[in-house]
């Protein structure tokens, strides 16, 4: 053994199934090997995507002996998955047997509990996705990998692979771990082989984009005059381009910005030339541009021009109260307006109504479980078939990616530009600053009570579960605290999952309050 442990040399397994390669799907292979080598627990399995993670976890579970007895913490997590997502959400039956999956669009309360129970060894197998590389701090005893991809399709970069592989060998007080790479010589799994261990410089995303020849300069040169649909690699260049333009607007030049020091003067000069042209088209103040990172000031400007050209009643430019009958259609029009003028954020166009439905339900404080039930109901009423695991994943994805990410990002930019316009036309009376739409969307709340509960530190899942029991919509943080403390000892009588009760206790009743909500359980 090496003196400092951490002997992380990948073990390679060339797997040949006795009955021939074809009959063994890649997922089964991953599951069989993981189940065979990982029974001691602390076993991470890397899957490419949420759907694969669920499937591999299910396959692993089938290979394990039946559990001897149940564990209270695992049962509580299963209960939370059933009540918080759906009675048949696969995670529930898997965690009861010590297997779980983990991906980014899962509700955070469930995800952090999965992580905690993996760390304490109760979940023995955890099938994860690239979410793990993006900021989840989780170590393991053994990691099993085959042909890892990051995001959709791209082979994993060496530094990401070693970020992942480096998780093995820091399990409790063990300093040695196993990295198991399946089919290391298979080019379809590992196009450039298993990455060798060495130091890989960490590169900023913005630098990586700038390093790519004259791509950035060319993109910026065409950005103002070309419809986005006709430009190449918009996803790649738009964010960094927006950042460069915002920097230019702030400083009047990018030559003194830090990013300029890491690239050739010729390249920076060429980019600067395009930025000067773009900046001459933009009236938007740099402070507004800075407030919306990743949203191009040019898009903000185009939206402002669209507002100025609007001939209708300016009140119709604002989102309608979420309870009003106009709310749904108003959001449809606003999303189309954002797509047309600011950035095509809500595509494909055919899904806009579905995106709006998610946003409206999210703002109304619907629980994830309720949104999933609604989706199932819609399929039944309209005679459409559906697959439950996929419907659940897609609902979670729309909540995370549309309601919690894209909608607040682009709608808060929309509102800021609208505020400029309303000020210009002397209609500041229309501006209502009670709770801004970005905050409402990020937290998924439109009432003071729900927002107060989340400001007190509850996850949305817990806040919504508790909110169902509170009749008033206008409670401040103090009001919420009073409501809870008046009901000490009674909350466990309500049908609320234990993990949620525990969170309510730690966030809302912690100040020297010894009464245990769960003591009667």
């Amino acid at each position: 053994m090496e003196p400092y442990g951490k002997a992380r040399r990948p073990i390679s397994l060339n797997w040949q199934a006795a009955s021939g390669e074809q009959t063994w799907s890649v997922r089964k292979k991953l599951a069989f090997i993981a189940a065979a080598v990982g029974e001691r627990g602390g076993t991470l399995v890397y899957a490419n995507g949420a759907g694969e993670a669920e499937e591999v976890a299910d396959l692993i579970c089938q290979l394990l002996p039946p559990p001897v007895d149940s564990d209270a913490e695992l049962s509580e997590l299963a209960d939370l998955a059933r009540k918080g997502v759906h009675p048949n959400f696969t995670l529930a039956s898997l965690v009861e047997r010590g297997v779980a999956f983990h991906y980014g669009n899962m509700p955070s309360l469930i995800r952090t509990e999965v992580e905690r129970l993996f760390r304490n060894g109760k979940i023995r197998f955890l099938v994860c996705t690239s979410t793990l590389i993006e900021g989840v701090n989780l170590s393991c005893r053994t990691i099993v990998v085959r042909g890892p991809r990051k995001g959709k399709g791209h082979p994993m970069e060496p530094h990401d692979f070693w970020n992942l592989a480096g998780r093995a060998g820091r399990w409790g007080n063990e300093f040695q771990g196993n990295i198991i790479c399946i089919d290391p010589n298979d080019k379809s799994a590992w196009p450039t082989g298993v990455p060798a261990r060495s130091r890989y410089p960490i590169k900023r995303e913005s630098d990586a984009v700038l390093d790519d020849g004259d791509g950035m300069a060319n993109y910026l040169a065409l950005r103002a005059s070309t419809p986005l649909a006709e430009l190449d690699d918009v996803e790649k260049y738009e964010q960094v381009g927006a950042y460069l333009l915002a920097t230019y607007l702030r400083l009047g030049s990018i030559s003194q910005a830090n990013i300029a020091k890491r690239h050739s003067a010729t390249k920076i000069a060429k980019i600067e030339e395009s930025l000067a042209t773009l900046a001459s088209l933009v009236e938007i103040d740099h402070e507004i541009a800075d407030r919306h990172p990743g949203v191009s000031a040019l898009g903000l400007q185009k939206l402002l021009l669209a507002f100025r050209a609007y001939e209708g009643d300016p009140e119709n430019l604002l989102p309608a109260q979420v309870e009003s009958a106009d709310s749904f259609d108003r959001f449809v029009t606003i999303m189309h307006r954002i797509n047309d003028h600011l950035y095509p954020a809500f595509e494909p166009e055919g899904l806009v109504r579905l995106y709006v439905l998610t946003v409206v339900h999210w703002l109304k404080g619907y629980s994830l479980a309720k949104m999933i039930r609604g989706g199932i109901e819609w399929h039944k009423v309209n005679g459409r078939s559906y697959k439950l695991p996929l419907l659940i994943r897609q609902t979670m994805e729309r909540v995370e990616q549309i309601a919690r990410f894209r909608a607040p990002k682009y709608l808060s930019a929309y509102m800021d530009v609208l505020r400029i316009h309303l000020t210009e036309i002397g209609r500041t009376d229309l501006i209502d600053d009670e709770i801004d739409i970005g905050t409402q969307l990020e937290f998924g709340v439109s009432t003071r009570t729900l927002l107060s509960l989340m400001e007190l530190g509850l996850s949305r899942m817990s806040a919504v579960a508790l909110y169902e029991k509170i009749s008033r919509d206008d409670l401040t943080k103090e009001g919420c605290l009073a409501w809870v403390s008046e009901r000490k000892g009674q909350l466990e009588l309500l049908d609320i999952p234990a993990i949620i009760l525990r969170e309510i206790q730690s966030k809302l009743l912690s100040d020297g309050d010894e009464t245990d909500l769960l003591e009667t359980q």
Partner: protein, 97 residues
């Protein structure tokens, strides 16, 4: 067949087709989710009186009109009532009844 005139309040149309075109033009000015302006609402209220189900469409009373989505990706006028209920109606039915 002789042209049948129709009037919405002070607005007189020599042909029913003209009335439909007039209401169509109002509808097209709006995006879905828009509240109809006070002026246009007045016209719509006069038009709604000609609707074959005027009484039930108006119900307890009209607060405002909106333009919202209808079936198959189209849009139409909706009446918003004093009790918070809302219902769509066909502006063509206001003319052709």
């Amino acid at each position: 067949m002789p042209a049948k005139p129709i009037s919405f309040g002070d607005l007189h149309f020599a042909k029913r087709g003209d009335a439909i075109a007039f209401l169509n033009a109002i509808l097209q000015k709006y995006d879905v989710g828009d509240k109809v302006s006070a002026d246009d609402s007045k016209t719509l209220l006069d038009a709604l009186a000609h609707h074959p189900e005027a009484e039930s469409k108006i119900g307890c009373g009209v607060v405002s009109f909106s333009v919202r989505s209808a079936d198959f990706g189209t849009k139409c006028f909706w009446v918003n009532r004093t009790d918070g209920t809302t219902e769509k109606f066909s502006h063509k039915a206001c003319v052709l009844a």
